[in-house]
């Protein structure tokens, strides 16, 4: 099954890796990418702009109901959960935080898994809480592929350790291996 979409989740310690990943996507990437990163809830501006600075593809915080397009990187907006509808549009939500997180990686990954099934590739990066654990499990349950950053290579390993404890990922990779992996997509 070819990859139809990529979701990337991360929290503390993931920002620099995300920047490097975003530089590597080829400009004609035929699939969408969803970024769910924990961030300050009262700060709406600056994050999208920073990620866009070196990204090879446009990064944008989508509006609710926006149609999903290939070759675009959708960044979960501050203080919203990002979900995906079956008609391939964005659905945002202000429901309560999950594991103190809004956007929640669990919500984003689970929703993407529900829509893209076997065609989803999920990448979980460094982070300081257990958000992402249920999301990774949902991706695997729906037949998708999961890459988790090697906890030994994480700035903060809690998130990846927790995910690996519940679900066996397809690959556990160091940052440099993740970078190489993404460059081959």
């Amino acid at each position: 099954m070819p990859t139809k979409a990529i979701v990337i989740g991360g929290s503390a310690g993931s920002f620099q890796i995300v920047i490097r990943i975003l530089e590597l996507f080829r400009p004609n990437l035929p699939i969408p990418v969803f970024l769910c990163l924990h961030r300050l809830k009262q700060v709406r501006k600056g994050f999208e702009e920073t990620l866009n600075y070196n990204a090879s593809l446009p990064v944008r915080e989508p509006f609710d109901k926006e149609n999903i397009r290939p070759g675009k990187i959708y960044l979960a907006p501050s203080n919203y959960h990002l979900l995906i509808e079956r008609d391939l549009s964005i659905a945002l939500s202000t429901e309560h935080p999950v594991l103190h997180s809004r956007p929640s990686i669990d919500v984003c990954f689970s929703s993407a898994a529900d829509v893209y099934g076997e065609g989803l590739l999920a990448i979980l990066l460094s982070g300081a809480n257990q958000d992402g654990t249920q999301g990774v499990a949902a991706v695997k349950k729906n037949g998708g592929a999961v890459v988790v950053q090697d906890p030994d290579d994480c700035e903060i390993s809690t998130m990846c350790e927790s995910a690996i404890k519940l679900t066996k990922p397809d690959q556990i990779l160091t940052v440099s291996n993740i970078i190489e992996f993404v460059s081959l997509l």
Partner: protein
Amino acid sequence: MFSVSILEAKTIIRTIDKTYGTDLSGLAMASFRLRLSEIMQTSKIDSTEDLAARLMDDKTFYETFISDISIGSPDMFRDPDLWIYLRDHLLPTVLKPRIYPEIIFPESVTGHELFSLAVLLQEIGKDYRVDLSATCYNQKIMNHILAGELPYYNFKNSKDNYEVFNPGSNFEDYTETREGNRYLKPNLLQGVEIRLQGTDKNLCSEKTAIVFYRNRMIYQNAEMQYRMLKQLLGDMKKGTYFITGIQEAIDGFGLVHLYETVSSDLKIYQKKDAN
């Protein structure tokens, strides 16, 4: 997290419509399914067949279900830059020249936006004479708003937001603790009218200055969004301001002839003549 399929979710929607005449078919499906899954988990209901049966047999459970499935209004002072703009720019322009203009919060669930404005008005002083009103789906939700309960995560988020909105002031001055639970002070809602949705022919009147409809449309499907937006804009008189959520877009509905954009960043609009 998405243990309920689309088919099962639609069966629940049909059950509710058939039993109580409440039409939930306009809800956005992804977040509806997520909430359905959560409700089933917290209520320890294993299947949607069991949920449907319980909804049909137990009206009290149904009312709680409607309250739970209705997403709470945003945390207090969510998007602090909007509230700063309201305080420093919009409200002085809108309210000062008028006597008892009305500000409406349709489809309130927790009432936290209503409480935010009540706090803001208290802080900016007595020059402003404003009628605040809100509508909600049922009596249970109304009672919940009137009680002013502020669960910990709402309190924490609201306090964090407020501290950006009004640095140096103490959000806790507007709350009190009773039997271990935190509440917003009841005097904030003094004179505020809360009524059940659908009891008015028109939501807005000549007095209506601002309609708050923030982060409500994200829970509706596109068809419902269009209907609600058309109805709300149709109800509004020329000059009425209309505020949606920061990530909600209304420009794609073919209704741009009905409003002007006051702030595209903060999603503030103003009704204009249709011509």
